[in-house]
Amino acid sequence: MNLLTKLWRSSIGKKWLVAFTGLALLGFVLAHLLGNLQMFSGAEKINAYAEFLKANEKPLWLARIGLIVCFVTHIVATLSLVRMNRAARPDAYALKRSVQAKISTRSMALSGLTVLCFVVFHLAHYTLRLTDSRFKVEAEGGLLKSAHDVYNMVIMGFQNPLISSFYILSVGLLSLHLSHGISSVFQTLGLETKRSSIWMPKAAALIALLLFAGYASIPAAVLSGLLK
């Protein structure tokens, strides 16, 4: 029996799969933010970045496939764990009080599912460009100067307050998800010590907050007219 089968068959092993794939997805969230923040450096910079990504098709698809595998594994392993956990308490308490569980921990399902919906919309919106007819080059009847005119696409996208609000709400819930996830990864992988159990949740919350500020800054800047 190989290691992967053993991991899948044990509860702790499944948690590792969730932890490792979560870490990889966190890496993407960080890298994606750094790419996105180039919005503040002007159209040329971010459009050149988009062109650069598209020019390296092979590594791009390798990364994409890796991300999809991580994303699917993260969800499938979590669902399997949730099923086990539900089965472990078939009869609910009539009255159950939570003593010290954090809101981020208790809302993992809600935040995770919202982020899932958001990812589907976000891909259809900006990657596949299915939801907005303006996101085409001018020759095809759209408003983009070139296929890599990401700058104007993002500005047009976020000028819609509904889309911006959903985006900010989603990255907010993603941050909540990560503030639990980042500190949990260390516990699940057995890296936590008595001392780190004190500062780790605080560090995780800070990282999550910075991610939220970074991501939310772009729609906020568009809505406020700072970016146009």
């Binding site: 702790i12 472990a88 308490r89 009080r97 921990t105 260390f186």
Partner: protein, 248 residues
């Protein structure tokens, strides 16, 4: 003091249970929670009704036999066992919900009594050291640093009451298993069987139908022995090491 009780009554595992209301009258403030239930049972018996079944043994806070989920918290509002919980923690006229520890691995026997043998089976899977019996060894034949002894003792304080699994939204027993694994992993006597122990205990834990840790940290909040969730980190670490060694 007078109290309104809502107590889970269930004749046997096969029948359906329900919360039943009782009035507990003239309860002395200084009696323990279990003594309060004794008084309620006396009253029930005098009226020819079936008394409430609940688990208890030493009533000194060390055996781990008493259970009960009181107002939604295993062992109730103080960080002790139920037997060490006194009625002065409650207000006169208060409504108190009393339910069993709920987990599929703790099947209900009757009313508030559940079968916690699953913990015994996890222990039997590996929570011990294999040593030759005979005369007691010399006190300092095996040297143990004080910090290691303290660390082992903190984990060994677990009385196996099951409150951790009862409090966990996932009904996970990982605080219990973590405490047992950490206790022996901290001592030289535990080293020879360290890997076999953690693999066997975790597999038994899964087979018994407990959930797994999502880091709610509810377990350490209700643990009467104040076991910290760092033992779960140790369990994860030891299991990783043992599984990798077994598979690679």
């Amino acid at each position: 003091m007078n109290l309104h009780l809502k107590v889970w009554r269930q004749k046997n595992p096969a029948t359906k249970g329900a919360l039943v209301s009782y009035e507990a009258r003239n309860i002395p403030e200084d009696c323990s929670f279990l003594e309060m239930l004794d008084l309620v049972n006396e009253d029930l018996l005098s009226r020819g009704e079936e008394p409430i079944a609940f688990d208890h043994d030493c009533r000194e806070g060390i055996c781990g036999m008493c259970s009960l989920t009181i107002n939604g918290i295993p062992h109730g509002p103080s960080e002790t066992t139920t037997c060490q919980l006194y009625m002065r923690k409650f207000k006169d006229g208060q409504t108190i919900y009393i339910e069993p520890f709920r987990a599929s691995a703790f099947p209900l026997l009757r009313d508030l009594a559940v079968n916690r043998s699953a913990f015994d089976r996890i222990q039997q899977a590996g929570g011990f050291i294999s040593a030759h019996v005979g005369a007691a060894p010399d006190g300092n034949a095996i040297l143990v640093p004080k910090t290691d002894a303290d660390h082992a003792m903190e984990a060994a304080a677990c009385i196996g009451c099951g409150a951790c699994a009862a409090a966990c939204p996932n009904a996970s027993a990982m605080l219990f298993v973590g405490a047992k694994v950490t206790h022996l992993a901290a001592l030289p006597q535990g080293q020879p069987e360290r890997e076999r122990r953690v693999l066997a205990m975790v597999r038994r834990m899964d087979a018994e139908g407990f959930g797994n840790c999502s880091n709610y940290l509810e377990c350490e909040a209700v643990c009467p022995a104040e076991i910290s969730t760092t033992v779960i980190g140790q369990l994860n670490r030891d299991y990783a090491h043992a599984l990798a060694k077994e598979s690679l």
